[in-house]
């Protein structure tokens, strides 16, 4: 009986340890040939249209302050290098977890005295894609510490929680069945390192939150609203889980 107890304790302990897929593979390895060629061609990559738009917006003044992003941050290629690789993180001023989109909006409100940009708006997608693009090639590296430990644990719990009519959790597809086919698609490991990404299905670029919501939809679960804490916590867990994978923004996916 003690052996059974030991086994139960051991399995409980291993369930408590956060796991990463091994080997770690970006979604680019699971997508099709034409999506791969599109992503590697900086001109043909449709996501680059938003990066180009983001560059314009970066240099445009906004809000009552009349300042542009460039006014404070100068050339994005220098000042934004490495930034996207560290998000989501806790913003000290707001004392809460935010993703890159949230950080851009905080900047607009605080420094530009401008209204925040709407979720999934062309402008917010463009700026986010442009900023994230400056970290392309750099490994994702979020910090999990006392500031966001609770958010991280919530994210992990959400990742393992069964949801929807399908009654499945993220882990069932993206940990246990990555590499296998689901209909015409090959299941990826579920990393967000290429987002905002141009999804052929969307015929547009879209955020990681949009992609996570689409997964909820696929499981016939109620989708969390844009900006919901659930989505942020999941983004943090996903960023930790994808640690080491290069930022690919703007990625191209099916």
């Amino acid at each position: 009986m003690s052996a059974a107890l030991l086994l139960a304790v051991a399995s409980a302990a291993s369930a408590a340890e956060p796991r990463k897929p091994s080997p770690l593979k970006s979604g680019i390895e699971f997508t099709g040939e034409s999506a791969r060629s599109l992503q590697s061609d900086d001109f043909a990559n449709p996501g680059m249209l938003w990066v180009a738009r983001g560059e314009r917006l970066w240099n445009e003044s906004a809000g009552r302050g009349g300042k542009s992003c460039a006014g404070c941050h100068g050339d994005a290629a220098g000042s934004m290098k490495g930034v996207a690789a560290r998000y989501p993180k806790v913003d000290p001023g707001a004392a809460r977890l935010i993703d890159l989109e949230g950080r851009i909006n905080l900047c607009r409100e605080r420094s530009q005295q401008a209204a925040p940009l709407a979720h999934e708006s062309d402008a917010l997608l463009a700026l986010t894609a442009y900023v994230a693009h400056q970290s392309r090639g750099m490994p994702l590296a979020v910090t999990v510490d006392w500031q966001n430990r609770a958010d991280f644990e919530r994210g992990r719990e959400l990742y393992h929680r069964r949801i929807g009519q399908m009654n499945l959790a993220c882990t069932h597809c993206h940990d246990r069945n990555w590499g296998r086919n689901l209909g015409p698609e090959t299941i990826s490991q579920g990393h967000g390192n290429a987002f905002p990404a141009y999804r052929l299905e969307w015929q547009s670029i879209g955020s990681l939150q949009r992609r996570i919501r689409a997964c909820y939809y696929g499981l016939r679960a109620e989708m969390p609203s844009y900006g919901a804490k659930d989505l942020l916590d999941l983004e943090l867990y996903l960023a930790w889980r994808a640690g080491g994978l290069p930022v690919e923004t703007p990625g191209v996916r099916r």
């Binding site: 449709p46 249209l49 938003w50 738009r53 015929q203 547009s204």
Partner: protein, 106 residues
């Protein structure tokens, strides 16, 4: 309408060069619906013309069968340094244009 054009940085006289253009446009088919069932009206870029030093070198009539954020690549003979002008219009009458310069060496 945001567009990007790609030409080679320079070309030799008589060289056949690739010209690429991509435009941010939903190429709305008219077959999609909003939440609530309202149809989204058709609106696609239906005509694009490319000129090189004033002469038309390529044009396209397009429909909803061309994918969103349309991409076109075609070829032209580089004969003299000068300006490329791309103009297009969609079903709603919105016009767009983009310029590019080509340097041609002997």
């Amino acid at each position: 309408m945001l567009a990007r054009v790609q030409l080679p940085p320079a070309a030799k006289r008589g060289e056949v060069i690739e010209v690429r253009i991509t435009i941010q446009h939903p190429m709305e088919t008219g077959f999609r619906y909003e939440l609530g069932g309202k149809p989204i009206p058709k609106n696609v870029i239906n005509r694009l013309v490319a000129r090189y030093n004033g002469a038309e070198i390529f044009s396209a009539e397009m429909g909803s069968g061309i994918a969103a954020n349309p991409y076109l690549s075609f070829f032209t003979v580089a004969d003299a340094s000068g300006e490329f002008l791309f103009e297009w219009v969609d079903d709603e009458g919105n016009r767009g244009e983009e310029h590019a310069t080509l340097t041609v060496v002997a």
